[in-house]
Subunit: 383 residues, 4 copies
Amino acid sequence: MTDIKAALRAQRIETPSWAYGNSGTRFKVFAQQGVPRDPYEKLADAAQVHAYTGIAPTVALHIPWDKVDDYADLARHARDLGVAIGAINSNVFQDDDYKLGSVTHPDARVRRKATDHLLECVDIMDATGSDTLKLWFSDGINYPGQDDLRARQDRLAESLAEVYDRLGEGQRFLLEYKLFEPAFYATDVPDWGTAYAHCVKLGPKAQVVVDTGHHAPGTNIEFIVAFLLREGKLGGFDFNSRFYADDDLMVGAADPFQLFRIMYEVIRGGGFTDEVAFMLDQCHNIEPKIPGQIRSVMNVQEATAKALLVDRDALSAAQSAGDVLGANAVLMDAYNTDVRPLLAELREEMGLAPDPMAAYAKSGYFEKIAAERVGGNQAGWGA
Amino acid sequence: MTDIKAALRAQRIETPSWAYGNSGTRFKVFAQQGVPRDPYEKLADAAQVHAYTGIAPTVALHIPWDKVDDYADLARHARDLGVAIGAINSNVFQDDDYKLGSVTHPDARVRRKATDHLLECVDIMDATGSDTLKLWFSDGINYPGQDDLRARQDRLAESLAEVYDRLGEGQRFLLEYKLFEPAFYATDVPDWGTAYAHCVKLGPKAQVVVDTGHHAPGTNIEFIVAFLLREGKLGGFDFNSRFYADDDLMVGAADPFQLFRIMYEVIRGGGFTDEVAFMLDQCHNIEPKIPGQIRSVMNVQEATAKALLVDRDALSAAQSAGDVLGANAVLMDAYNTDVRPLLAELREEMGLAPDPMAAYAKSGYFEKIAAERVGGNQAGWGA
Amino acid sequence: MTDIKAALRAQRIETPSWAYGNSGTRFKVFAQQGVPRDPYEKLADAAQVHAYTGIAPTVALHIPWDKVDDYADLARHARDLGVAIGAINSNVFQDDDYKLGSVTHPDARVRRKATDHLLECVDIMDATGSDTLKLWFSDGINYPGQDDLRARQDRLAESLAEVYDRLGEGQRFLLEYKLFEPAFYATDVPDWGTAYAHCVKLGPKAQVVVDTGHHAPGTNIEFIVAFLLREGKLGGFDFNSRFYADDDLMVGAADPFQLFRIMYEVIRGGGFTDEVAFMLDQCHNIEPKIPGQIRSVMNVQEATAKALLVDRDALSAAQSAGDVLGANAVLMDAYNTDVRPLLAELREEMGLAPDPMAAYAKSGYFEKIAAERVGGNQAGWGA
Amino acid sequence: MTDIKAALRAQRIETPSWAYGNSGTRFKVFAQQGVPRDPYEKLADAAQVHAYTGIAPTVALHIPWDKVDDYADLARHARDLGVAIGAINSNVFQDDDYKLGSVTHPDARVRRKATDHLLECVDIMDATGSDTLKLWFSDGINYPGQDDLRARQDRLAESLAEVYDRLGEGQRFLLEYKLFEPAFYATDVPDWGTAYAHCVKLGPKAQVVVDTGHHAPGTNIEFIVAFLLREGKLGGFDFNSRFYADDDLMVGAADPFQLFRIMYEVIRGGGFTDEVAFMLDQCHNIEPKIPGQIRSVMNVQEATAKALLVDRDALSAAQSAGDVLGANAVLMDAYNTDVRPLLAELREEMGLAPDPMAAYAKSGYFEKIAAERVGGNQAGWGA
């Protein structure tokens, strides 16, 4: 139990700056009170999540949503708040030029522009000290024949190579895949296999990031996690949950058992280290944002605790014996354990309140930002 | 062949006013040149689609996107353009009050407001002479436990009953179902069964509308069409196509064989009449809007022509004989026929250009609206 | 807690006779040791499940797999073992005549034969005292055009009406739906809406049975449960679990959270009574059969205990207040509770061993049947 | 058009020996008249398919279903019939030892046995002159925790390496992937990415085979085809079609437009050569088997003809110009063309009847085998 607590104490979950801004569906963005109006305010909110959970010390930025004049100053601001800048997320999907693609666009001018933006993100990594660039491409096509599937792969490979070469010592990029949306017929990086194949060719600084909401129905995500870890190509996670498509709900909300299985494979495969980035990527469209993040961090933590509780010796023994029900029972015993008392205890040992949700609620922080953050433009996805 | 041509000549496909405005995904709305700035301009664009296809004489309105002071004037404007107002579509998903639902909201005040909007839509039917109200509810919940599934059905039933009672002579409403989006855990009218059950209880003026993009993967839509026709409860279609979710691509673009099968069931089930409304409901996010609608109308027309070509006597004979391959072959013979020459001929008989896409392209209409419609706010979904 | 224990003590879960026989996929049936060779031995095995769980007192029969000369004798045998005969399951899918359908077959002779079998099942209900007939039709077609979708509905309705009329006082039938398999293009009762529509027309003795493995990906099953309960049309469950299609795994194994949500809706909707039949319908292809059933019964019991633990007053309050996270948290608090100690306590109060799996394992029953049941034909699906 | 005809004349589609035997679902295998009783009779039936289509000159074998004492004699028999032996398909899923896996089984003894079978298949390649080994593993697990996902990959890699090393000059193996079935929680080669990663490590003699029925819902198969061709790793196809899971229907029956898109990517990517094997892998559960194969070969041929008709210059021009509708229209023009007259003409030029289905039907072959093949055991899947 001491080991488990030590492991849990060392866990690091990164929250994304954009989760604190307004978000929605194509049908409606519902604005919320107290939403940040700039990257500084986003960091302040993220710091709250860390303050109450103790395991969310970094914040991912999204460029250009989080563009500032002085990144060093932003990094300093983060440090003052007790957090640090995490991964830099590029955005090559919201400029009018990108209607038919960014790095895979048929027009070389647009590709150049997109790649330049990616290179700029590496500059920002240098400026902020971030070691991770997260690349998500919305590139794809809506209609069969609209563009050439294979030529788009050639263009993608060319752009990735250029960005890869620009990476400095200790820097890496994570290539994200997604089945569909916003492209509706073919997406240029639709699955882990595509991301993996590109990363293998590029080298060790290119790794795959698994967004738990980006798969076809029925996909076994923990299998992918186990496989990528075996290949040394799992760079990290974008955690969220979904019932249907990329719903971007709070991680663990839709299928807590799946989250547990994923965390089990992470631990079993040696991925529970700083080499793998555990990031949230969610949209709190109808629920309050800071509590939504706190709850999400707790959900990952609970799944992790259960995964750590698995009696791996007993599991191996049952597996080797071909004892189907016995092996499954070992796993389920851990999953069925109520780990909330353990985590409350851990938090108290860490000098935190045992119930982060309640502690945040009574802190008055929400009332404060609701009152103060009036006027100005609330941060959002900018669609 | 004379019969088939006569049937095709009588076909009526309704285009939606919102297809002429800007649309997009939650990630980005790409603005297009020449997009209408008000309902009058939308009707003008819709009239172009009718001018070149000859079978798109009505236009669906969406309230409040198409709110005007004088609906009689709008209807007159439509008539002057050679078209007419079709179904009235309600919108109870874009007001801040509707964050947690409209007619199923836990708060009676919000439900009252939503139902009042639906009643207002019936007023607009009276004013425009429209006989059809289309009801789509985005209502649902994102998280298990968020609200009570059953209580929401009670609230839905109550609101529907009030609207039903308000319908006048010759008026009806069509209840739309949708698997998910924007609600991500449970939608209050998720499937045809739910819509059907409510409509049966309400009476003959309530019917189900089938949006071809609103089903779970693997759902056999033509089965639903056949079943609803058998029950007298198929009110109409919202046509579009999809590969993944509610992609809202041009109808027939993703799976032309499915569209053919649907049209076959419509014809076989006696639904190829004015009792069933054939409407488009699509988003032309990256393709030009008027040509997108023209192509879509043509796709429905081609599928209809093929469905009319099925040799139903031969089909019945093979089916009765249990001749699996023979029966399938009769259907496929019709599907594999190239009906484009037939349709070109029909158009010429109707005094139209044989190739609507080419004719529109060289008409100069697009260049004209691109030049004229400058300034003002382009119409869009308003999310 | 006393109430919860009382409710749990009154729970009744029915196991199916066919779960004790060999089963498999189309690729291979792996035979197991000690598998029953006749209905009498199946009942003996089912009695073991009841002996160790205390809540599985009835056994469903499948005709003709469980055909015997003297059903009264079989019922007596069951009683002697401490169990009773439950639902009678018809089989109109394994005779060569049914290649193209049973009650929906194009040939009247085959339909007559199929309906006669259903009527025979009612005779067996009379003979065994069973009050429930479960109707599953594999009927459907593999290729578009193969048969007429609508005519098949007419034939289905005709057969169902005849069977309905034959039902005696206190008897009912449950109509099962299934998305696909063994039919691969269209199934004649593919979804709950179809089953519901037929049952509504027939009357109160016809109800819908929900097999948890028979839905399209992404279907919200608890919504269907809530809806059918509201309509008074939920007749029962065929419990099992699945990751992909109709995998027929142990209930609760694939998604224990979903099972909990289903049981919550059952309880919330007043369905936790004898009016709703809670049946297992699973295939233990690779795991031992009796322990597979014991574990499944325990999984349902655990989900039920958690569902009973939901603080419904707190839930209602949070729902009414529009507190998204608060309402979700109330539900999750119950789900996250470890109910195994409570159930162990309950079992001891009922005079049972606290751990049914361990108690069965050390009982020596398996060793006994493995040694005794040698020779003869093991029971199986007979495909 | 001359080029197109030449290409079509050179096309080669392989039919599988098992398609001529009885098959079914887990619910029922419906026996058919005239079904072969041994590999010799299967080859005779396959020769009929070639005789009427002119483009099906090879037949895949399945070991042990097609085990014979003298493979040289079998190959000679094939030649006498005008066909040749194609790919050798291994079977490590129907022995009782393989209940928990074959090459990934936890027990080394079982793995040895399975690998030995694969090596035996290479011996049969040597004996028959076949250059292709097709490896499909049903290996996987049904329950979380049942076995270790990663260890199973290690075992798989070890076995594949041994088989790879055994391959002779001019021999290769094709690794098949499948989402699920018969394993229901995790499959050891579930997707193209897994197959690809193993093949890349092994070398040029290991390639991926795409079974069109083995994907998750919504998977874009033509993307995978384009990607694998770009990587030089597309070894071939197992063609069939499906609406839901691995339905094994006739190729092109469920989604002819998808088949066309796949064939377009094959041609565009330079895969329309002997390097890529075009094989059928289907189950004719309810339709007659030889006509089922003839129709399937014709379906692939029609899709190929349409794909060859695509005006690639016009397509490229529209794609480069970002003309979404124009590019799509170029593709659809080819798809909408009725190629049946062209193919009838081609057949006559090849000395064949223009309508293979009709010609076979009136040949009297079926009546002959129905009368002659009486007694003995009909070939089947042997499940």
